[in-house]
Symmetry: C2
Subunit: 322 residues, 2 copies
């Protein structure tokens, strides 16, 4: 549920005067995304999404995100396409907040994605990686291995309140990852947050990818690991190898993983699980229990981390022998 | 911000199979209304609103609300028009909740309505009263004078926590209203909650009235009093007689108030102010401070009540001498 900043009809009408979007017919706050305020605009030209960037998105990063969406859309990826003002600007400002208007994408995100959806998701992720290859801008991943220890230190003292022994388990996993994080695998633009709520489907087909506000330049196979974590576990905590195989197969058909990338999947999956465990743990203590934002359970990712620590090798994810 | 119940693509697709609305393209939770969950649907036939009725709306009242919207829409009032299934049903059930699909209305509600908007609102309210004249169903107003004492009794013990002396002031006002509530004025369908967020505008024209879930059979001029309270006070608490005159003039041009109705405006305005003061006071203590619903300030309506207690007569609202 994300509408943190209210927008008046007058403000919006004045803002749209700089765009070729026709007259404003409707604007409704929508419950989508958790970092920003999003509004569905109806103008005499069509339907659009207006995003007001709230404090958690660094303004200096916006040109990267906007530029990336333009780049990907120009290469045929169905992602929100920034709409430019008559002066050629995609970024503006409403109610004191940086903002952008993007095209509206049809489709719905799936609460319970199935095997076919995981296959389609894999293909869409690989297509994103290929489309991003020649994107000229760079953005460091502040939530990769270097960023984890500061998050842990902020939450360490209270971690065992969530479950006994958590602090020690995280310390051990973190130290191992810091010592053995893969280096030299193919890099490029990654989405870094491609959870089911950021992927729209029409039937079994991906109709759009949204929310590029964690996108950055990092190891491509790490994005695969994030998706294995986000898409292939069942509500009871079990890894669904059929979904994993489908995701990896869908990915590999568009962009085959190298032998090194496949071999690195277990450590990348542990890293991805730890990254979401740590941000959720941090938020758990930073966000008051009664706040307007629902906190996500850190333990879900602790259980995933433990699964990744016990597997025999990449083949256990369902990948074909390389 | 109102999405209390989540709806999956599968559930929705199954539900829509009973309707002639084409295929489902998109469904987004919207931040509109506080009592129910609302979703904006895009289907191959157009845009619609899906409402899931939450616990505060009595299921037995739904046929009245749905029937009223159909009745008003058939008489040319721009309000949401219920969409019927192929079996002729406007009410259904999704995720265990009663629900209805209605047409989407363009327009935006105004955070700061001006004089011209108050004039237009008055005309729209009168048009609603006229269009509702031959609506055959009845619904008692549970939030009229008979319903106020139970609300007060539930909050009385803690009322002075909101401001010292509030309990005594409410008791005095309530007793006076119980003793002198107007009887015999013209009755019919009233909206009973026509606040600015329930009225859409395109420019200075009313483009739609929404949220009929407090509508009932009651004194028509009481609806006028509710609107004077909701539309004609400034943020600093002052009554804006220019807006009041515009609202009353707009109303009177479509449905002239009788001499008795005009004369009753002060007591009806005190009643309307007390009604919102009491429901806000009740919610103030019933809703935990940190809950996902923002509480509305009861004192805003206490200040309005005191204004209505000090005026000389109906003419102070800006009404032309009858």
């Amino acid at each position: 549920m994300a509408v943190y900043t209210d927008v008046t009809a007058d403000e919006l009408q004045a803002y749209l005067a700089d765009y070729d979007l026709g007259s404003l017919l409707s604007c409704k706050g929508i419950a989508e995304g958790v970092e920003n305020s999003n509004f569905l605009l109806h103008t005499s030209r069509g339907h659009y999404i207006l995003t007001l960037y709230e404090k958690r998105v660094a303004e200096a990063d916006l040109p990267f995100f906007i530029g990336l969406m333009e780049h990907l859309a120009a290469r045929g990826l169905t992602c929100p396409q920034p709409v430019k003002s008559r002066a050629g600007q995609a970024l503006g400002r409403i109610a004191g907040r940086p903002c952008a208007i993007v095209t509206f994408l049809d489709g719905m995100w799936l609460r319970r994605p199935g095997v076919a959806h995981c296959h389609a998701l894999g293909g869409a992720l690989a297509a994103l990686h290929l489309a991003g290859r020649d994107f000229p801008m760079e953005r460091r991943n502040s939530l990769s291995v270097d960023g984890w220890r500061p998050l842990f230190e902020a939450a360490e003292a209270r971690a065992d309140e969530v479950t006994p022994g958590l602090a020690d388990a995280v310390e051990t996993a973190l130290a191992a990852l810091e010592g053995g994080w893969p280096d030299g695998l193919p890099r490029g633009v990654i989405h870094a947050d491609l959870f089911p709520d950021n992927v729209f489907f029409l039937g079994d087909k991906v109709s759009g990818l949204i929310d590029f506000y964690f996108a950055c330049t990092d190891t491509l196979a790490y994005d695969v690991a994030i998706c294995l974590n986000a898409w292939c576990f069942e509500p009871d905590g079990a890894y669904n190898v059929t979904k994993g195989r489908a995701l990896l197969d869908g990915y590999g058909k568009v962009r085959p993983l190298s032998r090194d990338e496949s071999a690195a999947l277990p450590v990348l999956c542990r890293g991805a699980a730890l990254r979401f465990l740590l941000t959720r743990l941090y938020d758990w203590f930073a966000v008051p229990a009664g706040a307007l934002v629902r906190r996500k359970d850190p333990l879900e990712y602790y259980r995933k981390l433990r699964f990744h620590q016990t597997i025999g090798g990449a083949r256990d994810y369902g990948i074909d022998a390389a």
